[in-house]
């Protein structure tokens, strides 16, 4: 069993919500070897009331946040969408969908995300279908949010059915995120990439994420922190990497999970270049 070697791992955190984090967090990412991040559009903790509110948020993701990250030597990419938690107001959702293509054209936007389901409702499904159609028309990558806890298994299956019913989308260009022990196998069996999220209580611990890699293998899988405005850890990926090292996994496997795999998936977008 190998214990901590003094090596700076090169890590991409492909799912982190930096608009909710401080400059101290950027500093911590940079000095820890996390120099490339991608930030999906998500729920702000409250429902936005107007399309202008979304426009401001998308401007923050595509203009302000990359500039803030660059001051710390961190490359910031993002994904644009309407989060499923805000899909029940169909009128507003349609207005937001209208402005999304303009933002998808921005130079640091890698695709549509994080789309998906939250409580597996009919309106959430309608808006998911609309996002999938936009991605298909524009040949965009897709980053999927799967629901929490008891809703995850059903939601993951509904999401996969919806995406697979769109023949223009290859599952190899879709990452289904927040996978856990009961969904990872089904996701990869259908040809999708799978993401594991290190988040206290509601998702994976570093130890469980490594258990999943040991159980299901290291292909087409990435691990992220999804750090946001809740209790979460922007350096969680480092802790999972260290968990692998503690167990004696080789550095080449650690590098594959935390750098090569996300780089391979994200490089399907011509806009992406890893630092």
């Amino acid at each position: 069993m190998a214990h901590g070697r003094d090596r700076l791992v090169k890590i991409i955190d492909p799912h982190i919500h930096m608009v909710s984090r401080t400059t101290d967090d950027y500093q911590a990412l940079a000095v820890s070897g996390i120099h490339t991040i991608t930030e999906p559009a998500f729920w702000a903790g409250f429902d936005r009331g107007t399309v202008e509110g979304f426009k401001d948020y998308f401007n923050q993701l595509t203009v302000s946040e990359p500039a803030r990250a660059a001051k710390f030597g961190v490359k910031h990419y993002c994904w644009i969408c309407l989060n499923p938690k805000e899909a029940e107001d169909l009128k507003l959702a349609e207005e937001v969908l209208e402005i999304i293509p303009d933002f998808l054209d921005k130079p640091t936007v890698l695709g549509v995300g994080e789309i998906g389901l939250n409580k597996n409702s009919r309106n959430e499904l309608k808006i998911l279908e609309r996002h999938v159609a936009i991605a298909a028309e524009r040949n965009e990558l897709i980053l999927v949010h799967t629901p929490h806890l008891e809703d995850k298994l059903k939601g993951t299956r509904l999401i996969m059915e919806t995406i697979l019913s769109e023949p223009r989308i290859s599952p190899s260009r879709v990452i289904i995120d927040h996978g856990e022990e009961h969904t990872v196998e089904e996701i990869r069996d259908k040809g999708f990439w799978v993401g594991l999220t290190l988040y206290p209580n509601s998702k994976c611990s570093p130890a469980r994420a490594v258990d999943i890699v040991e159980t299901y293998g290291s292909d087409c899988i990435w691990i992220n922190s999804a750090a946001d405005w809740g209790v979460s850890d922007p350096l969680a990926t480092l802790k999972a990497a260290n968990e692998m090292r503690l167990r004696g996994h080789p550095e080449s496997l650690i590098q594959k999970i935390f750098y090569e795999n996300p780089k391979a998936f994200l490089s399907q977008s011509p806009k992406f270049e890893a630092s």
Partner: protein, 104 residues
């Protein structure tokens, strides 16, 4: 789809993880005792979350492998039809209240 296997021996796993998981087990016992000490323990024990938790403990003892996946499925909504509406719903409970919320 083969896994990477654990490079650790069984003894090493125990050396590294036994104490923290022993503590977790005691925390679970303490949680159940806490429910017992409430002024209305039967209310807690008929809650769908408590029932799912107790089923989970049985799965831990009786399963011979894939315990984590079995536990996850134990807590999952196993219905297939989309919910009519999610208005007013944001979070999750951690266990499924049943097809008609009958255990809620």
């Amino acid at each position: 789809m083969g896994g990477e296997k654990s490079p650790m021996s069984g003894k090493e796993v125990l050396e590294v993880y036994f104490l923290e998981n022993r503590a977790r087990l005691i925390d679970i016992a303490s949680f159940l005792d806490r429910v017992d000490r409430t002024r209305d323990p039967e209310t807690g024990k008929t809650d769908f979350r408590y029932k799912a938790f107790m089923r989970g403990l049985k799965i831990l003892v009786e399963s011979e492998g894939n315990r984590t996946k079995a536990l996850q499925i134990n807590f999952s909504d196993l219905s297939r039809e989309p919910r009519k509406s999610a208005v007013g719903l944001k979070g999750a409970y951690g266990a499924w209240e049943g097809p008609f919320g009958e255990n809620h």
